[in-house]
């Protein structure tokens, strides 16, 4: 697509299916890293 460049992002809709809860608490969620995003 010559006029649209899409960055590589985690698909949030797919993450609906696969909530492990091992991420850190957050006092910003956006800054979180998910240690299991590759597995999920």
């Amino acid at each position: 697509m010559k006029r649209i460049k899409t960055l590589e992002t985690r698909d949030l809709n797919k993450s609906l299916a696969n909530g492990c809860g091992e991420c850190q608490t957050s006092c910003g969620v956006a800054n979180q890293k998910c240690e299991n995003s590759n597995k999920h």
Binding site: R10, D11, Q24, T25, S26, A30
Partner: protein, 460 residues
Amino acid sequence: MVHQFKMNGFNIVLDVYSGAVHSVDDLAYDIIALFESTSEDEIVSRMLEKYRDDKAVNEEEIRECISDVEELKAQGKLFTEDNCSEKTMDFKKRNTEIKALCLHVAHTCNLNCEYCFASQGKYKGDRALMSFEVGKQAIDFLIKNSGKRVNLEVDFFGGEPLMNWDVVKQIVAYARSIEKKHSKNFRFTLTTNGVLLDDEVMEFANREMNNVVLSLDGRKEVHDSLRKNYAGEGSYDIIVPKFQKFVESRGDREYYIRGTFTHNNIDFTNDIFHMADLGFTKLSMEPVVCSPSDPYALTEADLPELKRQYEILAEEMLKRQKEGRGITFYHYMIDLQHGPCIYKRIAGCGSGTEYLAVTPWGELFPCHQFVGDPKYSMGNVWDGVTNTAIRDEFKLCNVYAREKCRDCWARLYCSGGCAANAYHATGHITGVYEYGCELFRKRMECAIMMKVAESEMELT
């Protein structure tokens, strides 16, 4: 839902519910803005009119771009629907296994900062220090209530935790002595004003603390105007050399310098750059949250300049990154590829459910910013959570609980915002602290713009 914005020469499109981010040219930007509400022929007509002086834009180009947008929509990367409404998740049944405690090891402080949300560390109560017995019981309570979770966090907080340092070390030693037996991994953090930092504290913290938060507000005159000791003297000259030594000694270990900006320094990027000049590269600078009547309270009139400052910061950070002297700013450290799952984004910080604060005498509160408010006392580390009504209230405190958030594009980045800020601003934990929202949205736009810019830098 799609959010479009222009910044720093980029046209950016965020697909809210999939999390997809697109960098587009002017024509695609305009087509996406019309796509859901306008027929293809009408889009073609409008674009031909708008770009009539641009020889690179003709009907074929426009239809090809529309086709690309349709393809992205089919791929679930544009105009995706909200698949996680309340019907999908029953928040009442949310897990309440606890994975983090904020231990208030000292309700006392050696500084007298005017804007302190904790009322100079005493949380509107009496001076108090946590005993090892209370700390030990808190660790046992956390392990017992953490279910199958492996990673457990304990923050040493205050007041000033270094005023009860021996107990901090005892609690760490106790937790380390039992973590393997329970198949747990403790991650400790320390928040300090730095006054009592010495070689022994640094050595222990470098060995045991996964992260340290160091309070510094930037330029000397800014810092010293509000962060004074009880004799009225500023603390900048005392703490800066200690922080520099501490940060250098930490090597690759995590730290960050955490500042607060107020109405007195709405040019806060100058404070961030000053801290960078001091050698600190991991930085955070937060807007003060206080009563509107306080002389240093941020005002509505400050908002345009604050937003401009966030853009200045993002652009300067990109420049420094190119020059090989990059700094990080906590709110700009979003991870598009390995960020949190949708459950985390909806549920938010976990206060009152998976994260609790413990007072020096073992009382439980939803988080450190509720400590001292008797309405939010939840129980204690011996009997556990006895006020389950509070826990249930926080279980339901999520992004879907806030009607005002329904049309906000940033809702899956802030998760509905800080419950404590909402409570203090509106009287309800599910309220909306609008001023904070304005700043949050600008920060997220800046953070996403930086990701787009970085992706372009990788190509060049």
